[in-house]
Amino acid sequence: MSFFVSDRAPANRVSGYKRRIVLYCLGALLLLLVAVAMGAAIGETAIPLDVIGKTVANRIFGAGYTLDPIEEGIVWSYRISRAIVAASCGAALAVSGAVLQSLLRNPLADPYLLGLSAGASTGAVLVTVIGIGGGMVSLSVGAFWGAALAFGLVALLAKAAGGGVSAQGTGQIILAGIAGSQLFNALTSFIITRSANAEQARGIMFWLLGNLSGVRWDDVWLAVPVAVGGVAVCIWHMRALDAFAFGADSAASLGIPVRRVQVVLIAITALMTAVMVSLVGSIGFVGLVIPHAARFLVGVRHGRLLPVTALTGAVFLVIADIVSRTAIPGQVVPIGVITALVGAPGFALILIRGRRMR
């Protein structure tokens, strides 16, 4: 038995590794650009890619191309902003799901596990149906505070149930999340059945299943920093997340400050999810399925898993949005319906293939 191992690292191998990372990042960025360009081009009126390029050049660099102002308006004010928000939302939800699954060691964990979507819908209903805030508060703001309140309650309940987010407490937070979700869903139903008219109920229903129709540039400036920052924080913790593979005690013995990592990561996923839910409603399946799909592609190590999860989630949601706008002419299908319709069979395929791989 010898502990002596040479200290000299072949320098070329390390620099090759760095070059690979840069290449992957460029590739990912290119893929995102293609997805957003597709999101801008495809729709009820198809718009050629050169018009999209020229629109972006006009708006960002003041290039001064002459374009049909209606087409330019559609591309810039509606489709590009919408595609960017869809991409941010997909990345944030998918990474939140992956992080919660690893941290809580539960393959069924998803971003809505902590009561966030249920709280958001209660908040949205309180604003639109009951009229809290007297019209000064938007649906998004109501949804955000509903989500934040629900998460706060779930976290408190988990803590009171023993453990909070400590080593033994992962079961408690899942149970607390279920209890919180049930409570807020019941509240939402109660308010709708008591106070909402048919049209309001339909509007709420539509919003709950995910809706990117109202997205504008203001939303981009919120969604992009939250998604990029949140995903970056999660990737920063990649080794800590790896260390949770054998449980919190094992992570602690590998030098991970378990409690701090759990608090930081659960808070950041809750923040990302709350912001996304408040912008576009609760889009299901992305946070549950995309991380599993990414695991089958690149394995369980978070250094690869989280970037791939983010990219897959982003591209998936942009495509799902395109389908939701174009599937039925003249009508938008809620994007949550599309993600579930595609996600459920896709997930089934992954499960069956995974069984064969064993």
């Binding site: 038995m1 010898s2 502990f3 191992v5 040479s6 200290d7 690292a9 072949p10 191998r13 390390v14 590794y17 060691r105 393959p107 080593a167 920063w236 080794r239 800590a240 790896d242 260390a243 593979a245 054998f246 449980g247 005690d249 094992s250 602690a252 013995s253 590998l254 030098g255 991970i256 400050p257 378990v258 695991r295 394995g299 369980v300 190590r301 064993r358």
Partner: protein, 268 residues
Amino acid sequence: MMLRAENLGWTVRSTAIVRDISLSVREGEMLGILGPNGSGKSTLMKMLAGILAPSSGTVTLKGQPMAALPRRSIAQILAFVEQHAGTAERITVQDAVELGRTPWLSAIEPWSPRDDAIVGRALADVDMAAMTKRLWHTLSGGEQQRVHLARALAQQPTILLLDEPTNHLDIEHQLAILGLVRALPITTVVALHDLNQAMNCDRVAVLDGGRLVQIGPPSEVLTAQLMREVFNVRASFLVDPEDNSRVIRFQPLGTPAVNPTLIKEDHS
């Protein structure tokens, strides 16, 4: 003094699991922790590893109170292999052992070929180098235990804490693992069930009902009287003529004593 426990206690719902244990682990020794089921071995090990905060008392690592040390610094000195740590992740043997490098890596010190070499060495030491691509859930209990040990070795600790490392192992691998642990040029604390295996430790600490009953060289501590009082068995000592080492034979209390000299060696 490498690792020191002072008046350690751990209480859950007013039941004391560990009471007032003080002991010091000496540099380079192999200290065995013995005791019947429920005597507090695992709880003591977790407190010594700094994973469980004691209800009373303190643990000091190289003279510093463990509660004040960052987890990362502790993990660079001390590795711990707990009992029954499993995972549902599709993690490979290589991935699992690479986790051992976690306390040494950061954004400024990323994975290097040196880490590859350390991991390769650890895998070879536990005889798992040929199985690096195997998935965790396809391994036998013994193979999983060896992977855990390799992960702890990859941590390059100066103190290694093992909670019943020979559980689930066949006899060949029991002897191999204990031989390997014994040959390590580091300090080891091992919770053990097999009292004959404990005879190979430099010192043993015997727990009963959460208290430290005795600590010292195994030949002095493991007496027939202690076996009767702590483990509720009758022990007789035989001498293996091959190397004159002492072997303990156990029988339930209440069975008639057998004169060891009457036992015939069967060399056929």
